[in-house]
């Protein structure tokens, strides 16, 4: 596992510009998710009884799981 992580890091770091943009994109995804929640809830108070705090938690869980998949499974599959 640690070998996969190391090789993934080395592969990503080999392309500096792409890596910087990738970091920015990851942050942008998080901002976009939260902005998305903001857009929805500025037009309604609830979505099928889910309130804004529920949505924020859902977004957080999704980001953590997606990040884990990206770091571990997706890069390992690419190898």
């Amino acid at each position: 596992m640690s070998l996969f992580v190391k090789v993934s890091v080395l592969n990503v770091a080999a392309y500096r510009f792409d890596m910087l943009i990738r970091i920015f994109v990851s942050l942008m995804h998080l901002v976009a998710d939260l902005l998305g929640v903001y857009v929805i809830f500025s037009n309604t108070k609830a979505v099928a009884n889910w309130r804004v705090e529920h949505m924020v938690i859902l977004v957080g869980v999704f980001r953590i799981v997606a990040g884990g998949i990206r770091i571990i499974i997706q890069h390992a599959a690419a190898l």
Binding site: K6, V9, L10, A13, A14, R16, M19
Partner: protein, 345 residues
């Protein structure tokens, strides 16, 4: 007027350099170390129409980089070149239609489709008239013996079959100038012979000018009378293959098979002893003294077999590479004029 004219052509690459490991990778994110590599350094040569020139050099010598500049793939850092009257890196369609570059390790065919489809696409891209396309195709199919594989998908072909098809695709538009970068790489001996024969035949029939790079000396000896030796971006030798051999290795190798064991004969007095194993002896002698040495061996020793050979061309070339500019008489030395400092990013 030469068909290919190259004047002080140079190409310098800026490459990154770092140690292995994660720590070094992280360090290089902040501070990256670069190195300038002069892949080609002020090379000059010309090639007349119909010539086949062997372009030889060790790995990283600058052969492929030179071919890529002449085919228009790379812009040079400095210098000039004209091929068929065109400046290659301007990449004019009229120029690209008259040249072809075959890169042994790269496929230019449609990987997922039958071979015939690749030919058809190539014909459309080069805007070949229908009858010319058909007659050229028929000729290539016969010469390369690829009729049985035309309906096979390219990805299912063996390496030898694919190389033959790559050659066919490269020649479909009847280019006047061919750049062949290791055309026989990875291919078995029978196929190498076939490909060499075909290239020679194509040159004779159509008068195409060919620059060929190869690590197989058999390619060079079979096809090229003239060779250009390049190392570290400099031309070390440009001339006839025989002249290089004469200049670098003016020797003959006498191989002796004795009839019985001889222990007390002074073989070193004949020349340099290369091998002494049981009844087999090999001696290197200067070319001029080979007949006299052979006569003496025949009269002094009980011989079962005796042959006199030229040193293998591989040894000659290796000597040229190993000696660098100093290893080759008359090699072009660097001048004191400064290299243009434009560095490719």
């Amino acid at each position: 007027m030469p068909q290919i004219q190259v004047d002080h052509l140079s190409k310098t690459f800026k490459v990154t350099e770092r140690e292995g490991g994660v720590r070094a990778a992280m360090r290089s994110l902040i501070r990256r170390k670069y190195k300038s590599v002069a892949a080609v350094d002020r090379v000059s040569f010309s090639v007349e129409q119909g010539e086949i020139v062997g372009f030889l050099g060790p790995n990283g010598a600058g052969k492929t980089t030179t071919l890529k500049m002449l085919s228009g793939l790379l812009h040079p850092t400095s210098g000039e070149a004209r091929v068929l009257g065109h400046i290659p890196w301007k990449r004019e369609p009229q120029y690209l239609r008259r040249i072809s570059m075959l890169m042994g390790q790269r496929s230019q065919m449609q990987w997922d489709l039958p071979v015939m489809d690749s030919f058809y696409v190539h014909g459309a891209i080069y805007d070949l008239p229908k009858d010319q396309y058909q007659s050229t195709l028929d000729e290539l199919i016969e010469l390369l013996d690829i009729k049985s594989i035309l309906k096979k998908q390219v990805r299912t072909l063996s390496l030898g079959e694919r190389m033959k098809c790559e050659i066919a695709v490269s020649l479909l538009h009847r280019p006047s100038v061919l750049f062949l970068d290791e055309p026989t790489i990875g291919v078995d001996i029978t196929m190498q012979t076939r490909i060499r024969k075909f290239i020679g035949e194509y040159n004779r029939k159509h008068g195409a000018t060919i620059i060929l790079t190869s690590h197989y000396m058999a390619d060079v000896t079979a096809l090229c009378r003239r060779i250009i030796v390049i190392d570290h971006g400099h031309i070390l030798f440009d001339g006839q293959l025989d002249d290089l051999s004469e200049k670098l290795a003016p020797f003959k190798v006498i191989k002796i098979d004795l009839d019985r064991d001889i222990s007390n004969y002074d073989f070193a007095s004949l020349g340099e002893v290369l091998l002494r194993e049981g009844r087999k002896v090999e001696i290197r002698v200067p070319k001029g003294s080979a007949p006299a040495a052979a006569e003496r061996i025949l009269s002094d020793l009980p011989i079962q077999d005796l042959t006199i050979e030229d040193p293998p061309i591989e040894h000659v070339i290796a000597k040229a590479f190993g000696g660098g500019a100093a290893g080759v008489p008359g090699a072009t030395e660097s001048t004191s004029e400064p290299v243009v400092e434009e560095v490719a990013k």
